[in-house]
């Protein structure tokens, strides 16, 4: 470093070269993932950015508390862990519609991509880190109420340790369903959000896709019979997820008949196409 060592000046120690480790792409992706997950809940941002995500998260937690009380007071269990995921589907849809634009549209609008892409990250790394962060945020919103429910149920169980294990098993099922919901919703919302730098448009597009198909799907479910009724859930994301809940763990809000695997396949296709579209989109975006 420039200058002799004992100049007596302590307020300017000069520029220090960095000799430490440089951790490369995987670490860079992880850093972006953690930062985005924090951003999803408005952490490190202004108070306004926290209102909606933290608000929705709090409502989910409070609902879980109420359910604990109801479940423990009534002789029959009104809701189980998978039921939480199924019931909260519309809530999580709104959450995704708010958070996905926060994660990607703000970066597009602010030209932040030129800073990210001039670092070791690749374009696909960026897209996948953002998608994982969105999915993880949804998982947190779904899984935390399940943990609350578990704590309530485990402490009030009459079957001793066996009851606790039974509840833990139920919670694990809930986690599996929560993970599926999270990944499907993230893969559905992120390609739309990545199209525009305007958050309002991005939220609008996601709401349109997820909520406007609801009445169509709902009408078909109600007014048709047989195969048509079983398959009507496929055209709406929320019902698609409910169908999977029914197929895997007999949860969900309607019957899918023998078509459970179809729901599984469609969901897998949504994830694959959504991820592909997002990666493709970021291959084209200007740095």
């Amino acid at each position: 470093m420039p200058g002799p060592e004992n100049t007596g000046v302590i307020h300017d120690i000069g520029y220090q070269r960095y000799e430490g480790p440089r951790l490369g792409r995987a670490y860079a992706s992880r850093s972006l993932f953690v930062h985005s997950l924090r951003c999803a809940f408005g952490l490190g941002r202004s108070a306004w950015a926290k209102v909606l995500p933290i608000g929705l998260f709090s409502i989910a937690c409070m609902a879980a508390l109420v359910l604990v009380v109801i479940n423990t007071q009534l002789p029959v269990q009104v809701i189980d862990y998978v039921g939480i995921a199924s019931t909260f589907t519309y809530g999580t849809t709104v959450f995704v519609a708010v958070v996905a634009p926060e994660l990607v549209s703000t970066d597009l609008r602010g030209n932040l991509l030129s800073l990210y892409l001039s670092r070791p990250l690749s374009r696909a790394d960026y897209a996948l880190a953002k998608m994982s962060a969105l999915a993880a945020a949804v998982f947190v919103v779904l899984a935390t109420p399940m943990v609350i429910l578990f704590l309530g149920q485990a402490f009030s169980t009459d079957d001793g340790i066996a009851g606790v294990f039974s509840e833990a098993g139920g919670m694990l099922k809930g986690f599996v369903v929560a993970a599926i919901h999270a990944v499907v919703l993230a893969a559905l919302a992120l390609p739309f959000a990545s199209l525009t730098g305007r958050r309002v448009f991005a939220t609008g597009m996601i709401i349109a896709v997820t909520l406007l198909t609801t009445p169509v799907s709902g009408a078909l479910l109600s007014f048709s019979t047989g195969d048509a009724a079983y398959l009507a859930g496929l055209i709406n994301p929320s019902n698609l997820l409910n169908g999977i809940d029914r197929w895997l763990f007999a949860g969900g809000t309607f019957d899918v008949g023998p078509y459970g695997p179809v729901y599984g396949l469609v969901a897998a296709a949504v994830v694959a196409i959504g991820t592909g579209c997002t990666i493709w989109r970021y291959r084209k975006v200007k740095a």
Binding site: P21, A28, D107, P120
Partner: protein
Amino acid sequence: MAVRPCPYALSVVLIETNALEKRYDNKVTALADLTVAIEPGIVGLVGVNGAGKSTLIKLALGLLEPTGGSIRVLGLDPLADGEAVRGRVGYMPEHDCLPPDLIAAEFVTHMARVSGLPAAMARERASETLRHVGLYEERYRRIGGYSTGMKQRVKLAQALVHDPELLLLDEPTNGLDPEGRRAMLDLVHRIGTDFGISVVVCSHLLGEIERICTSLVAIDAGRLLRSATLSAMTQHSGLLVVEIDEDPAPLLDALTAAGLEVRRNNRALMVRLGEHADETYDLIRDAVADLDLSLHRLERQRHQVADLFRDAPTGEASYAGT
């Protein structure tokens, strides 16, 4: 300020292009047949807006793919070894690129981590770097509340935070007032000299960056106009400039009579230095004293950097501005 003999880590060529060409999809040719070797130091990349400066920078970062020719950065191919190149290079874009609702210190820390620095080091270096760019006191404020000058400093800090070997600055003085421009250029000069980091700084204002650069690369319409070190560009010529307040005609006659080679250039006289420079100075002094004139200026003429572009085919007027 201690001047070290060779402040730059390696004397490899920073950026080397060979017949580099970039055409965009809409048939616009941004760079055509550009062959240049950029050596370590503070390198000014000058050219009018649209000359291809930003395109060259993006090709160097591997953000764009060349349509012809080749480019190597720090001895590496930015497309094949993009990760390695981008890990060792810092980039400050021309346009606004900051998230308004983040705190500057958190943002720069985050950018350091995305460059691969471990969390604790990232935090420490973010603070240090913000101090170096003069934002230490304000580092816990939200970027949205910053002035344009402060935002430019944050942009510089995020490019510098991971201690790159090469810093690419695209129009760092954009949008700044004259005082802000001077401060930014002084900072860039400090980075290039005290910090020992090679800098390529783009500008369309030659007069502004020639002050801080060790060499200049001028491009125009995607082609290389001239590339040289600044000392070669501005070495002394063999001419003395003599300016007096009065009409120079009598002095011209007197000096010619004294056997000097004199030429009139508006109000000034250009006197060729003889083999014995001191004698020439003495002759001029005596002539001025004898004629009782008031001497306004007497100095050796330097080549102006702008002269370099005077014989260029196009665009020369554009470089003269300051």
